[in-house]
Amino acid sequence: MKKSNLSVLPVILWLCLFLVVPMLIVVGISFMGRDDLGNVVLDFNLESYSRFFDPLYLGIYWDTIVLSVLTTGLCLLLSYPLAYYIANAGPKMQTWGLVLITIPFWINFLIRTYAWVLLLRTQGVVNNVLLDFGLIQEPLQMLYTKGAVLLGMVYTFIPFMVLPLYVALDQMDKKLLEAASDLGASRWKSFWHITLPQTKSGIMTGSVLVYVSTTGMFVVTDILGGSKSSMISNIIQSQFLGARNWPFGSALSVIFVITSLIMIALFNRALTSKHMKTKEGR
């Protein structure tokens, strides 16, 4: 018992030093004031928090949540069939599927995002092909739009959804499906009542990974969105740099962490209760 306690000590130390302590510093600064040179000064106040309720910042946060929920939903819709296919393929295909999904990650994320610029811009590959085939007369403006941002987000985070779903689908007890079909359940019915509830943990993990990563991402909005729409993380970054308002930036970060935790808890509860209902219905 004692031995195992000792072995987790380095991890606990690491987390304390590099997660808990910095987080506490951020929380501390969020309650402080600043002088007109941007230095943080010891002056306890709640001004940074009340400033968040300015409709401007609330609106930006709302936009961020909408985009993140959309990205998560789209990732889930696109990933589930793919993960299902890989999990039910032969062993060789499974390995290949997983390798193909992870290969893009060997290339730097920024380079992959700029590749989308080359594809989507007015003199880009997509426009040139469409023009050559006479499908359009004028180049389409695809880049620097909200659609381009959504596309970039979904593209970036799809693997984060596929892998947890794959694990869940691979692990599930396939005998239950056989039993269901023996008892005359349709394929759709057995999917709805067996596969889906059994892969709940995968859906949960994937969704949390995608949702949290999307809310914290600002590079995609800058590169593919032309910096025209601000995400909450853009605002946090600018408070720490250009605006030199660390207390406000810290307060935004704290609010960001708390609301993300709430969203995850709500999502978790929604999934659990759905599962409960199916159980009761049996």
Partner: protein, 348 residues
């Protein structure tokens, strides 16, 4: 089980990769902290040889990073290159050493235009290293009218093809200049009016961009844009259809400067370095390589004809006379920042 581990491992590797992409000797060492690629490599090597020293060159991405690091204790840097407004901020916060001009006799080579700038009136703490002016770059293939004023950006013909710098002070400053006001006003009513004016430009804006604005203009994504003169020169070299003008209302001038932070252990060596860089021949070689305007008046004969004839690198006296430095706006920075957030998010 094995496959699950593989999936888990890959997931961990991917997360780390995604998150990361956001980020000896006994000789005397000169520790430089500056922008990336800010000097010609050979010129630095030559200095190391001549003075038998070692140069240690670290880079920062923006002035705010520089300020944060110097405030945290300097990290042993001997020479830093803050921009104009950051020099003013650093002087206010008592972070800079006064320069000993006796060690920098070549400082008199600097053109009068760049001597005694408003952010450091007697050049007590800083000397201008390089400079540029924000103007309008436009592609003559698409823009047929003569461009002479900031108001031309508002022309509905260019709707969806205008690119603006992703910079709060620069762009609100531009709208202020358009209205004939100072780019650094602290009068909230003036700022509000300028921002309202900018809001009417928003439907025309293709993108806000500072780092990649060159590529966007070279690739003809945008037709007309607010661009620094040095960047305009690079764009024109790659796309000869692009022209550049300093609008009649005048533009914002900026500079990166030499300064020595408090706590430098090799102050004299840093001053010797500044003096070396201001030598006419060294200077010509250096600016030829980095492609920015050379403030050294004695260097002109050592430059190539091509460089001397580049009107975007060498702005005329008349153009420079219409420029204004961005001044420190103190507490009003918060107002500028909120307005900028408002503008970019398209909300009230």
């Amino acid at each position: 089980m094995k496959k699950m581990r593989w999936a888990g491992l890959m997931l961990a590797v991917m997360m780390v990769l995604t998150l990361l992409s956001g980020c000896g000797s006994s000789k005397e060492t000169l520790n430089i902290y500056s922008w990336a690629d800010n000097f010609d490599e050979e010129v630095l090597k030559e200095f190391e040889k001549q003075f038998d020293v070692k140069i240690n060159y670290d880079v920062f991405a923006n002035n705010e990073d520089l300020l944060a690091k110097i405030k945290a204790g300097g990290n042993g840097y001997d020479l830093i290159q803050p921009s104009d407004y950051m020099v003013a901020t650093m002087i206010k916060q008592d972070l800079l050493e006064p320069l000993n001009k006796d060690n920098i006799p070549n400082w008199t080579n600097i053109s009068d235009t760049y001597k005694n700038p408003s952010f450091d009136p007697d050049n007590k703490y800083s000397l201008v290293y390089m400079s540029g002016v924000t103007g309008i770059a436009y592609n003559t293939k698409y823009v047929k009218e003569e461009i002479s004023s900031w108001a031309d950006l508002w022309n509905p013909e260019y709707k969806g093809k205008v690119i603006l710098l992703d910079d709060n002070r620069e762009m609100i400053g531009m709208a202020l200049k358009k209205a004939g006001l100072s780019n650094s006003t602290t009068d909230e009513a003036q700022i509000t009016a300028a921002v309202d004016d900018l809001k009417t430009l928003l439907p025309s804006v293709l993108a806000f961009d500072t780092d990649n604005i060159k590529q966007k203009m070279i690739q003809e994504e945008g037709w007309i844009a607010t661009v620094w003169s040095g960047d305009a020169s690079v764009i024109a070299q790659n796309n000869p259809d692009v022209a550049f003008v300093i609008p009649k209302e005048g533009g914002t001038i900026w500079s990166d400067n030499y300064a020595i932070p408090k706590g430098s252990k090799h102050k004299e060596l840093a001053e010797k370095f500044i003096n070396y860089m201001l030598d006419p021949e060294v200077s010509a070689k250096n600016y030829e390589s980095i492609g920015y305007s050379d403030p050294n008046t004695k260097a002109t004969p050592f430059h190539t004809e091509e460089y001397n004839n580049d009107k975007m690198i060498n702005l005329s006296e008349e153009e420079l006379s219409r420029t204004e430095w961005l001044g420190d706006v103190g507490e009003m920075l918060q107002v500028y920042d909120r307005f900028w957030t408002e503008l970019k998010s398209g909300r009230e």
